[in-house]
């Protein structure tokens, strides 16, 4: 780096601004100030405050005192909490698996020579950009117990006799919210993986074809290994967002029927805001942190591996 003083003939009396301008560290910190201040005040501080609140018995309207791990002890004996943990894992694992499989499939399809490719890509992304709450309302109507279009169609096709109680039955409700989540998540996975697919050089496939590799072998031995790093990152994001999902459940079931679809995020909201138990809600939210950390560490190593594959050239 050229030093900033090179072009200045009179170094003796610099104004304050010029001196700041010359010192990269001071200037850098000044420029970090707006972002840093906002993030420290509204992100780091509340993160710590949340952990602290989880150790108090604060309720809405009353400043609570420190009660140690009592909230966590209560939660430990709370079957609803454990049910929400189970639901969260079920929801995350099943939804992510479907998102990955279908997203990869869609990406492979879109990677072919197709007419109107740009338009197709734009259409595919629509579910992702439309506000979740608003598309969830459409799903709510699609899952309506009396007027569901799915039930109507299945009945007309003679596959069922009675309308399906989508959101009223525990397992149906779980399947229904997972389906809605998958619907919304496929575009993100597909478009990101498509971008990854397009970076794989065509020559590798040509070489594989010359070696007599079948389509499946080309996928397994060329596409998949080269795609692994980006899959790791995309799926970490996907898992992270699914694990902490709130909107979809809030709109479709509010955790019902009988807490069968409560996730940790919705339970934490339920206890903290309508229930008023801020301390307990914060404890549930804090209980999500270890899992998130695990996902982040996984993502970090995914990124590292990618950098290593690229020859560490870009840093």
């Amino acid at each position: 780096m050229a030093e900033a003083t090179i072009g200045r003939p009179t170094p003796q009396r610099l104004s304050l601004w010029a001196r700041i301008d010359n010192n990269r560290t001071v200037l850098g910190l000044c420029m970090m100030l707006p972002a840093g201040a906002l993030l420290l005040v509204f992100l780091s501080y509340p993160l710590g405050l949340g952990v602290w609140l989880g150790l108090t018995d604060t309720t809405i309207g009353r400043k609570g005192g420190f009660i140690g791990l009592e909230n966590y002890e209560l939660l430990f004996d709370d079957s609803v909490f454990w049910l929400s943990v189970f639901n969260t894992f079920l929801y995350t694992v099943v939804a992510s698996a479907f998102k990955f499989a279908l997203g990869l499939w869609l990406a492979l399809i879109l990677n072919n020579r197709l007419p109107f490719k740009a338009l197709l890509r734009a259409i595919v992304l629509l579910p992702w950009i439309v506000p979740t709450v608003l598309s969830a309302i459409a799903f709510w109507w699609i899952y309506d117990s009396q007027f569901s279009i799915i039930s109507w169609s299945l009945q007309r096709l003679g596959l069922i006799d009675q309308y399906v109680n989508f959101l009223g039955d525990a397992n149906n409700a779980r399947a229904a919210v997972i389906a809605a989540n998958v619907w919304r998540g496929i575009p993100f996975v597909a478009i990101c993986l498509l971008a990854g697919l397009q970076t794989i050089p065509q020559s590798l496939y040509e070489a594989a074809v010359l070696d007599g590799a079948s389509e499946w072998q080309r996928f397994r031995c060329v596409t998949f290994p080269l795609l692994t790093p980006i899959i790791a990152v995309v799926m970490t994001f996907s898992v992270l967002f699914t694990f902490t999902d709130f909107q979809l459940i809030y709109v479709l079931t509010r955790g019902g029927p009988f807490n069968a679809t409560h996730l940790m995020a919705t339970l934490s909201f339920q206890r903290a805001i309508p229930g008023g138990q801020l301390g307990e809600g914060a404890a549930i939210a804090t209980a999500m942190v270890p899992f998130l950390l695990a996902a982040i560490i996984f993502s970090y190593f995914g990124l590292q591996r990618r950098r290593w594959q690229q020859g560490a050239a870009n840093d």
């Binding site: 780096m1 850098g28 509340p46 399809i109 197709l120 629509l126 709450v133 309302i137 040509e206």
Partner: protein, 293 residues
């Protein structure tokens, strides 16, 4: 490694495969994907235009079509509810927080990527980690803070909290863009006596316009999408955003006004959809770029 089995045959390169094969392996699944992905939107639009008697009578009317389209649901939504106010609130909050975030992110990204001050790498990593902190673990402590600051139930609460998830993303994205601009341009300007601020405004920003647009669109759609903060921090009807208003105010007891609900969902989706359609290439590149960085 790949085993050599038989000469190039049925698989072939993609463009060599026959048409019927392509129909089965590509076009058919693609069509199914598109139908499933688009059906909820079709359903939203259809229900918006359907008169109630058609909607609730599945015996005499084909539910997949509308025979007597009506604008009654939209009219009810626009003139009998606070929907226009919600639209305005959402727009205002999204635009203001997007601009705040872009301003902060440009400065931060330039500092991290180009000034390389002491601790720049660690700061970059911290920004990335900040992006991974989900709103669902922050909303309770933020609610208590918002209350203490006396900005509960105001748009300011949302304008101040939305940048927490916008800044990290925008910064990360812009860092990638700044990285692609050659150092030489900056060095020339430094030799000519330009200050860092001049370099940023006159050289870097004009070159990073595509990045700014990407970050802006992404920030806008994310703010438009936001739900949990708006649900927690806002209680008065006239201050609500579209997602919160639709879900809390249009549902009255057990009577669901599906027509107006769908109209609300549709009208709330259209602004982002239009905005997005103009810049779809930027959006895609920002999304994939951010994942790849």
């Amino acid at each position: 490694m790949i085993r050599l089995r038989r000469p190039v045959d049925e698989g072939g390169m993609h463009h060599l495969s026959t048409l019927p094969q392509r129909v089965v392996t590509i076009y058919l699944p693609l069509a199914v994907f598109l139908i499933v992905l688009l059906f909820p939107f079709y359903w939203m639009g259809l229900t918006t235009l359907k008169p109630n008697e058609e909607m609730l009578n599945l015996q005499d009317f084909n539910p997949f079509w509308v025979e007597n389209p009506t604008l009654a649901h939209i009219k009810k939504l626009l003139f009998e509810t606070a929907y226009p106010a919600w639209l305005w609130n959402t727009m205002l909050v999204a635009v203001v927080s997007t601009f705040i975030s872009l301003f902060c992110a440009v400065l931060a990204a330039y500092a991290i990527e180009r000034l390389r001050f002491k601790g720049a790498r660690a700061t970059g990593m911290a920004i990335f980690l900040a992006y991974l902190v989900p709103p669902s673990i922050l909303f309770i402590p933020l609610a208590t803070m918002v209350f203490k600051l006396g900005i509960f139930d105001t748009k300011l609460a949302l304008i101040l909290t939305y940048p927490t998830f916008l800044i990290p993303f925008c910064t990360w994205l812009l860092m990638g863009y700044f990285r692609s601009i050659p150092y030489e341009l900056e060095e020339c300007a430094l030799i000519d006596g330009a200050t860092r601020l001049q370099i940023l405004v006159k050289i870097m920003l004009p070159l990073a316009v595509p990045g700014l647009i990407s970050a802006g669109i992404f920030a806008f759609t994310l703010s438009w999408n936001e739900f949990i903060y708006a649900l927690t921090f806002i209680s008065a009807s006239q201050n609500k955003t579209v997602p919160v208003g639709v879900i809390t105010e249009l549902v009255e007891g057990d009577v669901y006004h599906w027509g107006s609900l769908m109209a609300g969902a549709l009208l709330g989706s259209i602004p982002v959809a239009i905005f997005y359609s103009f810049f779809v290439e930027h959006y895609v590149s920002s999304m994939t770029g951010a994942v790849k960085e």
